[in-house]
Symmetry: C2
Subunit: 368 residues, 2 copies
C-alpha cells in the first residue's frame, strides 16, 4: 500500500466549498460596491465562442483566448443574462451552504421557486457554463453533478467527506460489479492504493470481464467503466487518480472513430470545456482498439458508415489529431474503411482480450 | 434486522447452474437418442409470435399460448437455426462450467471461435431468445447478462456466490453513490435487511437526492435507480427483493407515458418476454408522477409531442392498461395534453419531492 502522493491539510470537499464561496462573495461584493458608487454593476466573462478557442500545445487541450464579454445591467439586452447569473451565484451559495447536490435539470426547475424564469433548460445550462467560465471552476465544484454515472473497481481506499459519511472509509475492491462514481466518490479523499495503473474501458460488459479475469490483480489496476463517452465526474476521477496517486491511465475503446474520440476527450478534454482546466489527463494513453489492431489481429469488422466517414473528416481537421498515434490511426481507419468492437476479440475466446491483447498493448504503450 | 423470508439450502448461483445444465443435458440426450434411433433430431420451441401471446389476468403478464414451432434437422430450411441453437446450448454449458459471464454481443462474436456463423447480432440474439423460450429460463440463468447497469443502495446484506467472492458478505448501505447491479449482485444471496420497502426511481439525479435526504432511513427503504427503462438484471433484482424478502415495491417515474410504461414493465414485464416468468413484480405499485399529480401539484409541464400521443394511443390498446390507475392516468395525460419530469418538484425546493410528495404518495398507495 502506498500513501497518496499528496497530503491534504483539509478535506477536498470543504476546501472546494470555501474556494467557491470566496469567489461568490467577491462577485457579490463587486456588485454591491458598484451600486454604492452609483455605477451600473456588470460581470465580465471569458468569451466562449469558437473564435476565442485556441489549442494549447503545453496543456494539451483547448483553452480560451483573451477575448471577453461584459454583461452590464445598464444594457437592456444584458439585464436578463446578468440577472440569471446573479441568481445562479446566489443559488450555488445555498447549495454549498446546505451541503446539497443538484443536476443541470434541478437548477432549471429550482429557478421557478424564486420566480426566476428560464425559457428552457438550454438557457439555464448556458448560464451555468458562464459561471464556470467566470470562475474557471467546473460546475461539480458548485455542487451541480451530471445525472449519468459510470463505475469503478479496484484496490483503492477512499474516505468520504459528504454529510453523514465524513471520515468513513471504503475500499473499492469489495463489490465486483463496481461502485458508481457520483458526488460522494467525487469528493472523497483518495487515502491509499496498491494499484500501479488505471485501465478505463468503454463498456460495462468488458468492465465485468476484466474484473472476472482479475485484471485488477494481474496488472495491479484500478478498472473504470466509462459507459461510452465518460460523464464529467468520471473524467474528474481519472484526473485525480492520475494526479493525486500518480497512476498512469490507459484507455481501451471500440476500434472506431468514436472510440478514438472517447480516449481523446479523457486525454485533452472537449472543446466546449475550453474554459476549464481540471478535466484532462494529458499523459493518458489510448492503447486500442486501433485501426491497425483490426488488421493485425484479424478482427471481425464491419464497414464504416457515411456518418463514420463524416466524423472522421471532422476529426482530421482538429489540431489534436495532427500527429502521433491519433493521426496515424485516423488514417488507418480511412484506409481500411472498417471498424471493430472490443467484443470482437471473443472470436479468439472470451478471455483472449485479457490474456493476449491487453498485455501486448500495455507493453507497446511504453513506447507511445 | 429480519432474516430473509426463505432459507436457501444451497446458493442461488449453484442451483441455477445445476438447473440449466440439467436442461441442457436433457436436450443433448434427446438429440443423441433420435440419432441413435435413425431419426432426424429436432427441437420444439413455444411460438413467440404476437398471435401466440395472450394476457394472463392472474399472472398479470403476457404469456405464450399453446402454439409451438419445430426445428427439424430433416428440413433444409431449419438446419441453420437448429445448428445455431445446438451450438448455443453447447456454448452456454461451457460458460456455466467455467463460471464465466457474457453479453449478447459476446455470444455473437464467440460463435466465430467455433466457425459458427451468424449473419449479424440480431440473428444470434434471436437464437438466445429461442433457448430462453425452450427452457422457460431468462438468459441471465445462462450467464448472458445485459451490458447496461443500474444501481442499488440500502440496508441489505448480500452474500456473493461468484468465483473468488464465495461467502463474502457486503452491506449495500456503505457507498452513498450506489452499487451497480451486475452478475455478482444478481447471483448473490439476500441475507438480511432492516428495510420495509423498495423505492425504484427512474433517474440517477433523483437516486442521489433520495440517498442525500436519507429516504432509506426515514422510510426504511432500499432505493433503486432504474436508469430509465430498467435492464433485466434490475427487474430480476426487484422481483427478488419483493419475493424473497417480502418487500413491497413502489415505482416513481417522470410524469409521462414513457414513465408510466417503465412502471408497467416492472410490474408485468414486456411483451417480448412473454415466454418468461421471473421478471415481474405483480404487486408493484406505480406511485407517480401521475398526470393528475401534474394538475394537483401545479407542476411545471410541457406539451405532449406527436410521438407522445402516438405512444399513448398504442398503450390504450394494451389490455394491461384497460383498468385501474393505468387507464385513469393515460386518460388524464390525454386530457391535459402535458407532461412533467420528476425534477419539476424543485419548483418547490430541492427537497419538496422527498418531504412532501413522497409521503403523500406512499400514504395514497395503501388504497391502490
Amino acid at each position: 500500500m502506498k500513501l497518496k502522493g499528496k497530503q491534504h491539510s483539509r478535506s477536498l470537499a470543504s476546501s472546494r466549498k470555501e474556494d467557491v464561496q470566496k469567489l461568490l462573495k467577491e462577485l457579490g461584493q463587486s456588485i454591491y460596491r458598484k451600486m454604492n458608487e452609483g455605477v451600473f454593476p456588470d460581470v465580465v466573462i471569458p468569451r466562449r465562442s469558437v473564435r476565442n478557442m485556441v489549442y494549447d500545445e503545453v496543456l494539451k487541450q483547448y483553452v480560451l483566448g483573451e477575448s471577453s464579454v461584459t454583461r452590464s445591467s445598464q444594457n437592456i439586452k444584458h439585464i436578463r443574462p446578468f440577472t440569471h447569473l446573479v441568481w445562479l451565484a446566489f443559488f450555488v451559495d445555498k447549495l454549498l451552504e446546505n451541503g446539497k447536490t443538484s443536476t443541470l435539470r434541478d437548477v432549471y426547475y429550482s429557478a421557478q421557486a424564486y420566480n426566476v424564469e428560464f425559457k428552457d433548460q438550454p438557457e439555464s445550462d448556458d448560464i451555468i457554463t458562464d459561471l464556470e467560465a467566470r470562475f474557471s471552476r467546473p460546475r461539480e465544484n458548485f455542487s451541480i453533478y451530471p445525472e449519468e454515472r459510470s463505475a469503478i473497481f479496484g484496490d483503492v481506499t477512499i474516505e468520504y467527506t459528504v454529510p453523514g459519511y465524513e471520515g468513513k472509509k471504503l475500499n473499492l475492491a469489495s463489490h465486483p460489479d463496481g461502485y458508481l462514481i457520483g458526488p460522494s466518490l467525487s469528493t472523497a479523499e483518495l487515502v491509499e492504493t496498491s494499484a500501479e495503473m488505471v485501465i478505463a474501458v468503454e463498456k460495462g460488459g468488458l468492465f465485468t470481464r476484466f474484473v472476472e479475469e482479475k485484471v485488477h490483480d494481474k496488472y495491479k489496476a484500478i478498472i473504470i467503466d466509462t459507459a461510452g463517452q465518460p460523464p464529467r465526474s468520471t473524467r474528474f476521477m481519472l484526473k485525480r487518480l492520475n494526479r493525486e496517486l500518480g497512476l498512469p491511465v490507459y484507455i481501451l475503446t471500440d476500434g472506431d472513430v468514436y472510440g478514438e474520440h472517447i480516449a481523446m476527450v479523457i486525454v485533452s478534454g472537449s472543446a466546449n470545456a475550453a474554459h476549464l482546466r481540471d478535466l484532462t489527463v494529458p499523459s493518458g494513453k489510448w492503447i486500442g482498439v486501433w485501426g491497425s489492431d483490426i488488421v493485425r489481429y484479424k478482427l471481425p469488422s464491419i464497414p464504416l458508415t457515411d456518418h463514420d466517414f463524416k466524423r472522421l473528416h471532422e476529426l482530421k481537421k482538429d489540431p489534436r489529431y495532427r500527429k502521433g498515434i491519433w493521426r496515424k490511426e485516423l488514417d488507418v481507419f480511412l484506409k481500411i474503411k472498417r471498424k471493430s468492437e472490443l467484443e470482437a476479440f471473443a472470436k479468439y475466446g472470451l478471455t483472449a482480450i485479457v490474456d493476449k491483447y491487453l498485455p501486448e498493448k500495455l507493453e507497446a504503450a511504453k513506447s507511445l
